[in-house]
Symmetry: C2
């Protein structure tokens, strides 16, 4: 890979995602200047111990060729105007937010001297904070880029090269299509997991043995419920129409399935289970 | 552990669960006579290659001190009368079926000379057949025992010792409580996974990129959809009331959640996500 055309990267929000990005960048390009920006002193202390330069103040983005916003979605929306004021001529502004419509809308208001593009890496884990960061988090995963109308091909190419440096595979998508897709394959699974945990907990009230019967199936299906609350709250609240549509469609499907089960409709059930089984096995070989 | 008071074990149905049990027993007690009974020639051939004695005919249970029924629930219900006719005086009859009410009801009709008890190991995986069997499948997992009114303490103790030999932890539960609990922690997660796969597949019709955005969260939440169709069909059809109740309760919860999301009710959403996150993190530390 040719040397990147940037020397300084500022990452705003130095938790799991931002911290892992810094570690990945420094592993690939040890001489890159990576600055972690976080208001939280504990987050900064953790990063300092790993030898990463950190700042408390957003002013640190002034020096950066690339500014990465790695906070929850609504924080990104709040930070964008200040980043636009401070970022230098020609800087690439990218974010890692889980929804993209509101963000690209806000990015469109940035001064013309900076070059914004939306970003969403399809990776993560159920541990928050820099202490959970790892250089390999982005490796071999998909990183969605959502260009704005004003985004030039040159900016797209720079963003792709940056994503490639992390070991991720860039996919170009418009913000609307992105938000619809993640409502189905990410926000829906998350809300199902959270609902599964809350509903079974309510029901187990008098039956303490219920959870001693929970095996690997329950563990996997409920895993996403342990995701970072603040991040997921921002995600759902900035994708309300798509998420509500998915939840209602799922709810209708479950009622239909309940009818088939209650009626003992073997043929309908068999078709349903067979279709899901075949599809799932072919999805993840 | 003292030597078991049984010399011959017949396992009827020699797939993943029955085969893994045979491997576990022979690993612990190489001199035990373990007979795998399966009508399917391919299943027998796989077991024969691993040096396990197999028979095609149910008559093979005549020699057994312990008869284990390891087929799907409705096959167990069909096989029980014939097993009762053929099993010898004093034989322990146990099964591995995923639901227990219908089975203990049918077991109650067995002749008094045999000793039935229901069983359900809380383990498995999304691969079926003897070729997926492994000696460690039962190790450190919960094995539910559901005694009948006629089951003596001596029979319970024998069943516990047998379960202990597999490395599993026995839990005594009545069949009604078992079927209610597994509807919540096992059958519900399974139906959620299957519905997630089917609904997102339908929706992705025109948007082929949707699944390229599916990451680890989707993979884990949908994993159970790949379970064995025949086994799950029997399971749902013999637990219809409990499963339909759970699906309807879940469907109502999702509608409530959709309302909170659509209305942007931040306080309600935050409470919901926070409760689920805390509970999930404390469940699986």
């Amino acid at each position: 890979m040719k040397e990147p055309d940037f020397k300084t990267v500022a990452i705003v929000g130095f938790g799991l995602m931002g911290g892992s990005m810094a570690l990945a960048l420094l592993e690939q390009r040890p001489h890159l200047a990576v600055i972690g920006v976080d208001r939280d002193a504990a987050a900064r202390a953790n990063a300092d111990r790993r030898g990463i330069d950190t700042k408390a103040d957003l002013g640190a983005v002034e020096a950066a060729d690339i500014v990465v916003l790695a906070t929850p979605v609504r924080s990104i929306l709040e930070q964008l105007p200040a980043v636009g004021e401070r970022a230098k001529e020609g800087a690439l502004i990218i974010d890692l937010g889980s929804t993209k419509r509101d963000i690209v809308h806000e990015m469109d208001k940035l001064p013309q001297r900076v070059h914004p593009i939306g970003g969403h890496p399809m990776c993560g884990k159920e541990l928050a904070g820099f202490q959970a960061a790892e250089a390999g988090l982005y490796r071999d995963t998909v990183f969605v880029l959502t260009p704005l109308a004003r985004t030039t091909q040159q900016t797209v190419d720079r963003a792709k090269a940056f994503v490639g440096l992390l070991g991720a595979r860039p996919i170009i998508l418009d913000a609307d299509a992105h938000d619809r897709a993640v409502a189905a394959v990410s926000h829906l699974p998350f809300t199902l997991a959270a609902t599964l945990v809350n509903l079974t907990t309510e029901m187990s009230g008098s039956e303490s043995t219920m959870f001693s019967l929970a095996a690997g199936g329950f563990r996997d299906t409920s895993r996403l419920a342990a995701s970072d609350t603040r991040m997921m709250l921002d995600t759902l609240l900035t994708n309300r129409d798509n998420v509500a549509d998915m939840l209602r469609a799922f709810s209708r499907e479950l009622n239909r399935l309940a009818d088939s089960v209650a009626a003992g409709d073997e043929r309908a059930l068999e078709l349903f289970l067979d279709r899901a089984g075949k599809r799932r096995r072919e999805m993840f070989k």
